[in-house]
């Protein structure tokens, strides 16, 4: 059986590659993300309640809500998990025996294959759509509500905003450079439904991507990317983000070399699971917020 919600939150790492890589982005979204871990700990932090019986009641209701599959919370968790593991699938086998350890970039170089620009662009677009669909699942709005998602993006904070910062920096700027939005858009428009179906990241999550068939799904991905590109552009320009600035902050916590830039993106793909990590945190927050309100 899959893990319980409290196990997932209890088992969130307090250190390691993912946490280090996210902390490195504090300069992008200052003070927005604290690595909140532990189920009861999260209940207290989210609700401000400290009474043990109250925490127990909130936690139990959250467990019920998560386990009711009609409520969409499990689907969101599946999306966050799957998009992370699918994107890093190529290097994952080599990484399997290193779980829980910090992996050295240079030591791991031999196991990495840089992704072609097109595959990288598709990854970025698919991950963006996964955020949109997971958002809809968690918040209860129809799965293809691009407009609602766009409105909510402006209001993103905490771990959700950090996830978007990591998407822009680690799946946009680092692998594709400053022109990642244009490159992304160009790549998607040149992609055929057949090619999309062969993309590892898309394959992982395609069951939950709206559109009905690969052509429809490609249309949905294109439309979503097109709608969010303005937000991404503002995000980058308002913070003066460049590939160089992100890389220099990243290299302060994880040893990566700028002259092997092609490999840095591939390395992040296999070693940094930021969708799963911050997605679990978002989900726990929403479940707990609902649980306490319903008691």
């Amino acid at each position: 059986m899959s893990k319980t919600i409290y196990e997932l939150v209890d088992e969130l790492p307090t250190d390691g590659m993912t946490v280090k890589a996210l902390n490195a982005l504090d300069f992008v979204v200052p003070g927005q993300w604290q690595n909140l871990t532990g189920f009861t700990n999260t209940i207290s932090a989210v609700t401000g309640e400290t009474d043990d019986a109250m925490i127990q009641a909130i936690g139990e209701r959250a467990v019920y809500l998560y386990n009711d599959s009609s409520q969409g919370y499990q689907r969101a968790m599946w999306l966050y998990n799957t998009v992370d593991s699918a994107a890093g699938a190529l290097g994952a086998a080599a990484l399997a025996n290193k779980i829980g350890q910090d992996i050295s970039f240079l030591g791991f170089l031999g196991n990495l294959t840089p992704k072609p620009e097109k595959a990288q662009s598709l990854d970025l677009a698919v991950k963006l759509v996964v955020e949109l669909v997971a958002f809809c699942q968690i918040n209860g709005i129809p799965g293809d509500s691009i407009g609602d998602f766009l409105a909510a993006l402006g209001d993103y904070g905490g771990e959700s905003l950090m996830r978007m910062a990591a998407l822009v920096c680690y799946d946009g700027l680092i692998p594709l450079g400053g022109g990642f939005i244009e490159k992304g858009m160009a790549s998607i428009t040149q992609t055929s439904p057949d090619e999309l179906q062969k993309n590892q990241t898309f394959k992982g999550v395609s069951d939950l991507i709206p559109g009905g068939n690969p052509a429809g799904q490609l249309g949905f991905i294109t439309q979503s990317f097109d709608s969010v590109k303005g937000w991404m552009g503002d995000f980058v320009s308002s913070r003066n983000l460049t590939q160089q600035s992100v890389l220099s902050h990243l290299s302060q916590v994880i040893q990566v070399s700028a002259d092997k830039l092609d490999y840095v993106g591939a390395f992040l793909d296999v070693s940094v699971k930021y969708y799963t990590h911050t997605g679990t945190q978002t989900l726990a927050r929403r479940l707990i917020e609902r649980a306490v309100a319903e008691l």
């Binding site: 309640e49 109250m54 209701r61 319903e294």
Partner: protein
């Protein structure tokens, strides 16, 4: 094989001893671990046919029109709209100060039952203050709750915001 035990070599005995120690250590640790406090809820909620939300619960989208209107420096941002539940964040100067919510207690009868002992009312509806941050009223089968998210958001403010909901309108909602 009668002689098998005496032929045990020294290293085999040491290994056996080590294995026994490990087994004891493992079982000892398991006994020492406190039973998981949410394990019962996990077990109960995954039984066949158990759901968290009642089948006939009102859709959250039906609740939105009864929420307090934003204004006077306050922003209202809807955050969840699920079957039986709707919630919005109340923000002031961009910072969340409270959560506003309406839920259908048919999914959680205990939520409604707690008002039976309540002597407090807000706008004529039975009211309860719970924990450090929660004030709520029961309107028919619907619970309206305001949850403080800023330590300075007082109980008086929570009560004030509850009365800003269209409670009368909500009392007429029949789904």
């Amino acid at each position: 094989m009668r002689n098998s035990v005496p032929t045990f070599k020294h290293w085999q005995r040491s290994l056996l001893g080590l294995l026994l120690t490990v087994v004891l250590l493992i079982t000892g640790c398991q006994q020492a671990k406190a039973p998981d406090r949410f394990a019962q809820a996990q077990q109960d909620s995954t039984k066949r046919g158990v759901t968290a939300v009642a089948k006939d619960a009102t859709q959250g989208s039906q609740f939105n029109k009864y929420f307090p209107k934003p204004g006077a420096g306050y922003e209202r941002v809807y955050t969840q709209e699920k079957k039986g539940f709707s919630e919005a964040a109340l923000k002031k100067d961009g910072k969340e100060v409270a959560k506003l919510s309406i839920s259908d207690t048919s999914s959680l009868p205990a939520a409604a039952a707690k008002y039976e002992n309540s002597s407090q009312t807000i706008a004529g509806y039975p009211a309860i203050t719970m924990g450090k941050t929660q004030t709520s009223v029961l309107v028919g089968k619907y619970q309206v709750k305001v949850l403080g998210r800023d330590p300075n958001f007082s109980q008086a403010e929570r009560e004030q915001w509850i009365s800003k909901f269209d409670l009368k309108g909500l009392s007429k909602l029949k789904i």
